[in-house]
């Protein structure tokens, strides 16, 4: 019984982290699906979202506003606006001029952008990690009083629900709206979509903006969950999210969601049953194994190289 409770606890922790990985992974997978490049700076955009949210929260606290839903909504909206503007600007400055060149060139440009943004925040806000106030406290507990208890905090419930809402909106947006339809068309064939009168530049900008907005949501949620942020925490999270995107099949949005959840569970099982220090090793190892044996991922389509 106790073992089962422990297992369930790890499963819940893993699903919580995994759902935020999925939110970040959407940004990677959408950009890759459309222009075939790895947006290396995406982790930094997520980090900037977390910083903006924290700035908004402290600003509201300084103004004396204490109504929790208002604080959360304002922080979320601020983070989404700043992150999506950042996503738009990054695409405009660093990716559009090098689009269509040799594969390594956009990638190096993206790495440069990632280093630039990391140090931009580092110089503006300092390199020390800053405490993120735990706005949502408390939770449910299961199990006998005197032994191990499975606990689900309200924070974890919030993360689940927010992620679920975001994913639903995104799915509806992609399948129903005009821009979503154009996105799908562009990812199938960019040149043909252009010929049919779709403004592909605008659609590519739109994917960067959507990905960045979702990353900002993840930034706020994970900032609150972990309780502290620093300018480097976007890098590892970005790498994890990329792993999730590859695991699910890069280019596929349901794949990114599935990949995020699997990765989160794998990680929390490692820290629960082996050692917390090796969870990064496990996720990178997983990434390498997938790329070696099934580069198309779980739900991806095989890519045919044409001459």
């Amino acid at each position: 019984m106790q073992d089962l409770l422990y297992f369930i606890q790890q499963l819940i922790n893993g699903l919580t982290i995994g759902s935020t990985y999925a939110l970040i992974a959407i940004g990677y997978t959408m950009v890759y699906g459309i222009i075939g490049m790895i947006n290396f700076a995406h982790g930094e955009i997520y980090m900037i979202g977390a910083y903006t949210a924290l700035i908004a929260i402290t600003g509201l606290a300084a103004l004396g506003i204490a109504w929790l839903p208002l604080i959360l909504i304002v922080a979320l909206v601020c983070a989404m606006i700043v992150s999506s503007s950042m996503g738009w600007a990054v695409e405009r400055v660093a990716y559009r001029p090098v689009r269509g060149k040799h594969r390594l060139i956009p990638l190096i440009s993206a790495i440069g952008m990632s280093i630039f943004l990391q140090n931009y925040v580092h110089l503006a806000q300092g390199s020390r990690n800053i405490g993120f106030p735990a706005l949502i406290e408390g939770g449910f507990r299961f199990g006998a009083e005197d032994s191990f208890q499975t606990s689900i905090s309200y924070m974890q419930v919030t993360i689940f629900i927010t992620t679920l809402i975001c994913m639903t909106i995104l799915s509806l947006f992609i399948s129903r709206s005009r821009i979503g339809r154009a996105c799908r068309a562009v990812s199938q064939d960019l040149g043909m979509a252009n010929l049919l009168g779709i403004d592909t530049n605008r659609i590519i900008s739109a994917t960067f903006v959507i990905g960045a907005a979702l990353a900002a949501v993840a930034g706020l949620l994970l900032g609150m969950y972990y309780g502290s942020i620093d300018p480097l925490f976007g890098f590892i999270a970005g790498l994890k999210a990329f792993t999730a995107a590859v695991l699910g099949g890069i280019g596929s949005i349901p794949g990114a969601m599935l990949g995020g959840l699997i990765l989160g569970v794998a990680e929390s099982m490692t820290s629960g049953y082996l050692s917390g220090e090796y969870k990064d090793v496990v996720s990178f190892g997983l990434l390498i194994l997938i790329l070696l044996f099934k580069p198309t991922g779980l739900l991806g389509k095989p890519e045919v190289e044409k001459i």
Partner: protein, 392 residues
């Protein structure tokens, strides 16, 4: 100017404000567990506003500006110059190289101890950059975990000298060979992958090796190094690094002209064409990867003996990024460019201390700008070639 331009310019200016004001305009200060918000200084705010105005004006008059810029190519006197003749260029390059080596030989006897120590570091970076240049510049394989091989070299020397009392000269080839072996073993499975996947996988390997080092070994604080006592040790170490760097440069220069070097470049230019001409893709890539790792191991051994102690903090991803920045700035594939870039990138932050805080910011921006404007680098690589003369 059309209304469309005005709208776009206004939009760009607002985006500039949005992405800079929240991050730069407010400072988070944490005291204990409480976090407070402070407004930035007035100069920062004015700077942000000024940046927005500049973006606005630039976008508004973009067409006019770009048009007038295009009309004055004569401003650059070098633009219409004919490329230098090949024999002349080769002579100039070899003269420059000789001068550099002579200068490097005299250096320790005229400069201060600190300057010689810095020069040793420069030479280590030259070795690393030349090694990575083989992998990224010549073979076109983006390796983001290059620092892992550097770590293998350094740790080999540290462990051997700590537990078996092995001397530097014996550890040097062992470290390099072990790094090469790591390159071979890691490279074998991953080199089938396409360019951008390869980059991520090597990054993952680099992180794994760093985490393993972090968890499995304590950092080495006992001093070890070259058995050469006295105050001349710094100079001795410098000369060793110089000799090794020159050996690295010459070896790679020869390799570039051998069939394997030509195969690297062929594969970089067009993989399918190279394959259809009968090149063994895996073998060619693997040779580049292994040779690059070998020289990283070289550099790692020298680094360990220079520092006297090592810890995993010396081998983070940022280090890989710096080496990559050197290769990109110098010009992928160009040895001369890479050497000059290594010197510049290592020395500039030392010369201007207040600038060193902005070092990585500028590296990042420089990498983006280079890719946008001059992807071939500052001193692009030129192959020896014969041009057909136009018939009169």
């Amino acid at each position: 100017m059309a209304a469309h331009n005005l709208k776009h310019a206004l939009f760009c200016a607002i985006v500039t404000l949005i992405i800079s004001y929240p991050i730069l305009g407010f400072n988070l200060a944490s005291e204990g567990t409480t976090v407070t918000l402070e407004g930035a200084e007035t100069s920062t705010v004015i700077g942000i506003l000024l940046a927005a105005v500049i973006v606005f004006l630039f976008q508004l008059f973009r067409d006019n500006l770009m048009g007038s810029l295009r009309q004055l190519p004569a401003a650059n006197p070098l633009a219409n110059r004919k490329p230098m003749e090949q024999s002349k260029r080769l002579k100039l390059e070899s003269a420059l190289l000789t001068l550099m080596i002579i200068g490097a030989l005299i250096w320790p006897f005229i400069a201060s101890r600190g300057a010689v120590d810095l020069a040793t570091l420069v030479l280590i970076y030259v070795m690393l950059a030349l090694g990575l240049n083989v992998v990224v510049g010549l073979a076109g394989l983006l390796d983001l975990g290059y620092v892992a091989f550097y770590a293998v070299g350094a740790y080999t020397f540290a462990l051997l000298s700590q537990y078996y009392g092995v001397s530097f000269w014996f550890a040097l080839p062992i470290g390099a060979l072990l790094a090469a072996l790591f390159g071979l073993v890691l490279g074998f499975p991953v080199l089938r992958l396409r360019g951008d996947y390869l980059a991520i996988v090597t990054l993952g390997f680099g992180e794994i090796i760093r985490i393993l080092l972090n968890n499995m070994t304590t950092s080495f604080h006992e001093t070890f190094g070259i058995a050469y006592s006295g105050e001349h040790k710094v100079i001795f170490l410098y000369l060793i690094a110089l000799v090794l760097a020159v050996i690295t440069a010459i070896a790679i220069r020869r390799l570039m002209r051998m069939p394997v070097g030509r195969a690297w470049e062929a594969l970089r230019e067009d993989e399918i064409a190279a394959k259809s001409l009968g090149l063994n893709r895996t073998a060619v890539k693997l040779s580049a990867f292994t040779i690059g790792a070998f020289f990283a191991g070289f550099a790692g051994t020298v680094f360990a003996s220079k520092q006297g102690f090592i810890s995993p903090e010396s081998f983070v991803f940022l280090e890989s990024a710096i080496i990559l920045a050197i290769v990109v700035l110098g010009g992928m594939g160009s040895q001369m460019g890479v050497i000059l870039a290594a010197i510049a990138v290592t020395i500039l932050p030392e010369l201007a201390r207040e600038f060193s805080e902005y070092r990585m910011l500028i590296f990042g921006a420089a990498m983006v700008l280079m890719m946008v404007w001059r992807p071939q680098g500052l001193l692009p690589m030129r192959r020896i070639h014969i041009e057909l003369k136009k018939q009169e």
